[in-house]
């Protein structure tokens, strides 16, 4: 049997359980909505303005740095699996690759992108 079909089954069952629980709760629970109850919660104050606003750019920069690293480290997995058969030359090549990654980190660091400014 195909492995990924089983993974798909896990996805389906993994969705059925929470959907079922939330569905049962929706049937059993009382439904008495009113405008005050449905207000945005802000410790009793009326909320001012929309919350879908501009946010700190630093979050975006961290996400960008993460993206570079994450994509690059995924390349390391095939290398790590076959490390035993590859011999010393390929190991050195992998280390050069990691060194380039670290150089990228040092560059980001020197540019001050890792500071919470």
């Amino acid at each position: 049997m195909n492995q990924w079909l089983l993974v798909a089954f896990f996805f389906i069952v993994g969705l059925i359980i929470p959907v079922g629980a939330i569905g049962v709760a929706a049937i059993l629970g009382p439904k008495k909505p009113n405008p005050v109850k449905q207000e945005t919660y802000e410790c009793g104050l009326e909320t001012v303005g929309d919350s879908w606003v501009q946010f700190k750019a630093q979050y975006y920069i961290f996400a960008l740095v993460f993206l570079i690293f994450d994509v690059e480290t995924v390349f390391l997995f095939p290398w790590a699996v076959r490390l035993g058969q590859l011999g010393l030359f390929a190991v050195i090549e992998g280390i050069v690759f990691i060194a380039i990654l670290i150089a990228g980190l040092v560059y980001t660091w020197r540019k001050g992108m890792l500071e919470w400014a």
Binding site: V13, I17, A21, A25, Q38, S51, A63, G84, W116
Partner: protein
């Protein structure tokens, strides 16, 4: 005796035989049997999850010198069932400004991202969902679904607390994914495979926490940050953001976030056990002739569950001992310390592996352990000098102890 060796296969064969007897094609019958098996596994997980709620409440109470739930049933064991009934009959309040579709989808995805992790966990050599050969990548991929559910919850609630919490949480989660991936690479190098079963088997005779204690430590820290638990719980900092990304959720939807978080912690305790502590193996004890009776499916399952509970307990211990860290300190800790350290560890491990792979397992293990020890010592020494220099910047040069005491 067959039932003792491979109960899952026996049950599946019986079920498939039954369904083909009804005139079902064999392919469909296999599929239905697999679906039912997965359903049973996940149902058992949900029952475990219910007891995790009790365990968490009881353990936090003991840490804080309280008694915890003790009214319903012996030791308050029935308390979590009462909690579930309460969650089921609570009114589900959706804020009027929320984005309804995304708002309702987020708790389901949060729970799903945890449940699908159990597809690759080997409870025993034959009792596992799928023996994927890319299981290490699968862990990272499902983690991304959890991240997605948090940003969905925070954004769709249309609440400033929720949005702030979600941004912080996601920044921490994506940052700590780098050391986590790097520490997942270490067992991959040591075992030569990404499959969980192969990694478990490769830990005989030496489990990987002996070969690479630093990697085990980095994985634990990164896992705690991925879970968003204290000291990395900036996303739901109660004292400033009330409850962070799930502040607008109530009833069973909140329950899904809560139960998902507990099960996630338990699951990562299990992964810690699988990747570094030999999974379902008993550290080679079951291979001894005198203890051969331990080499059976039920003992294997029990071993992994016990290891997962111990891992979960350590995660709880950290949570209730450490204070919350400020977000810039947290991200600096990751990017300026943990990430360089994990890459340095990766280089050292790859080099030692290339040089010592043909030696006997004990020489190989010893050189791995010593290289980890040396790297750890260098890091501690560097940190000591750095923090002394930082302290001298504030306090002036350190005085000898005699002079400071006034002599």
């Amino acid at each position: 005796m067959d039932f003792l060796k491979d109960p899952l296969k026996l049950a599946a064969d019986w079920l498939i035989g039954l369904m083909t007897g009804w005139g079902m094609p064999e392919g469909v019958a296999t599929g239905v049997a697999a679906f039912l098996g997965i359903f049973v596994l996940i149902a058992i997980l949900m029952v475990i999850d219910i007891f995790l709620v009790w365990l968490e409440r009881k353990v936090v109470a003991r840490f804080q010198d309280r008694i915890g739930p003790n009214r319903l049933g012996p030791f308050g064991l029935i308390q979590p069932f009462a909690d579930i009934i309460k969650l089921l009959i609570k009114e589900d309040i959706t804020p009027a400004n929320a984005d309804k579709v995304v708002y309702n989808l987020a708790p389901m995805l949060s729970m799903m991202s945890v449940l699908i992790l159990w597809a690759i966990i080997p409870l025993a050599p034959n009792i596992l969902g799928v023996d994927l050969n890319v299981a290490a990548l699968y862990i990272v991929a499902t983690g991304a679904i959890g991240t997605l559910s948090i940003i969905m919850a925070g954004w769709s609630s249309n609440n400033k607390f929720a949005l702030l919490g979600a941004f912080r949480q996601v920044a921490v989660m994506v940052s700590f994914e780098i050391p986590m991936v790097a520490s997942l690479l270490i067992p991959t190098i040591l075992s030569g495979s990404m499959g969980m079963n192969a990694i478990t088997r490769a830990q005989y005779p030496l489990p990987f926490f002996i070969l690479s204690p630093l990697a085990a430590l980095i994985f634990l820290i990164a896992a705690i940050a991925e879970l968003g638990r204290a000291p990395f719980d900036m996303g739901e900092a109660e004292s400033e953001l009330i409850s962070g990304y799930n502040v607008e959720y109530s009833g069973m939807k909140f329950g899904m976030f809560y139960a998902g978080e507990l099960l996630h912690a338990f699951t990562f305790g299990g992964f810690w056990g699988i990747l570094f502590f030999g999974g379902y193996g008993l550290f080679g004890l079951e291979k001894l002739p005198a203890l051969a009776f331990l080499d059976n499916v039920y003992i294997n399952m029990l071993t992994l569950i016990v290891k997962a509970v111990i891992g979960y307990w350590i995660i709880m211990w950290v949570k209730y001992t450490m204070m919350r860290i400020r977000i810039d300190h947290m991200l600096a800790f990751n990017w300026k310390f943990l990430t360089p350290l994990s890459f340095a560890l990766l280089i050292v491990t790859a080099l030692v592996h290339a040089l010592a792979k043909d030696a006997s397992p004990w020489v190989y293990g010893l050189s791995m352990f010593l290289s980890n020890l040396v790297l750890g010592w260098i890091v501690v020494e560097f940190l000591r000098r750095y923090s002394r220099a930082e302290r001298e910047k504030v306090e002036g040069p350190a005085k000898p102890a005699m002079e400071a005491a006034g002599h």
